[in-house]
Symmetry: C2
Amino acid sequence: MSAGEQRERKPRADVQRNRAALLETAQRHFLQHGVGTSLEAVAKEAGVGPATLYRHFPTREALLAAVLQTRSEELVARQADIDQLGDPAEALEQWLRAMEEYFSAFSGLPDPLMAAARAQEPDNPLTIPCDILISATDQYVRAAQLAGRVRASVRGHDLFLAACSVAWIKGTGTEEESLDRLRTLIASGYRQRDTQA
Amino acid sequence: MSAGEQRERKPRADVQRNRAALLETAQRHFLQHGVGTSLEAVAKEAGVGPATLYRHFPTREALLAAVLQTRSEELVARQADIDQLGDPAEALEQWLRAMEEYFSAFSGLPDPLMAAARAQEPDNPLTIPCDILISATDQYVRAAQLAGRVRASVRGHDLFLAACSVAWIKGTGTEEESLDRLRTLIASGYRQRDTQA
DNA sequence: CATCAAACGGATGCTGCCTCCGTATGTATT
DNA sequence: AATACATACGGAGGCAGCATCCGTTTGATG
């Protein structure tokens, strides 16, 4: 209490408990019913009133961002593995797949994600994740370009959009085979042709 | 009443009138607020009760399909122009742009469209339009492939998905410049390289 | 003008969103 | 252990949109 410690009241225990229950339930509901799931139902199943949910997470996006936190960390962890790869083209490819899986975590996720990526609303809790992903993608693109494996005209942002698109289509229930064809099409689009000049 | 004529009662005049008013209003609302617009509001502004709207168009998709009818016809009309072009690669390109514009008619349109394209629900009034578009795309693809301008591995369905994706991204409010970059990426993906062996 | 099927539309029940406010709960103090 | 107090809780309620039922109106017909 002496050394600069503000000596603030310890936060209540139920706050943490409710928050955890909400996150756990929300994740399940997002998984089962997509990002548009009923928040009222989430609250009820978590054993709290609607107001408690809204107090913890003022908007659907805030809840979504919080639930996504775990997955974001997994994505960052994957980056370490990917960076180990010697081949920058392979690294880019794997990174794109990792991002796509992240976008496909819940059906309907790409929409709020794009909304966040577009506008510069700093209050949208999904904006920061998006910005990070775009610049990370740009890193991988540049590395692959230096190795002459990716066209010079390509930007990280382009492939971010492409990955988001594929995730969106995936979310609409398209068969995996069609998705693979689309991925191949995109890959042909950004890869530098070997038979150059 | 003799010659096989079933002599059925002439349909009431208000039916036609209400239907027309609903379509006109619905188009305006879809344009302004996207495909998710309030059907109640549409009915009210068209000067009819909710029940009348639902009697004419049992589902949102039915109304959407009816409103889209006009645009579909415009698309067919464009086909005539496109078919005039000598260059099959150019024809494919223009066709893809035409489809993309069609998909972008209303914000949020790509979602129900993809839903219709995916499942074989013959009762979904959007399924037929989708099937037509896919096979039309396939025609253009084949023609361009015969001319050696498009990779052999590409299918019409792939480019249908790609066009739908671009339209989806457009609907999320992304800047036109980013869209152009994405279109270019896709084009690089399907075009046959000139420096072939 | 009378008839009657066809179409209409208001009322209604439902679900989900979000907020207000009286109440309960956990922490700190004595 | 009991009290004081801030903090968090949650039910109630207002609102909007969907979709349907059913009593009433409308307009084609003879």
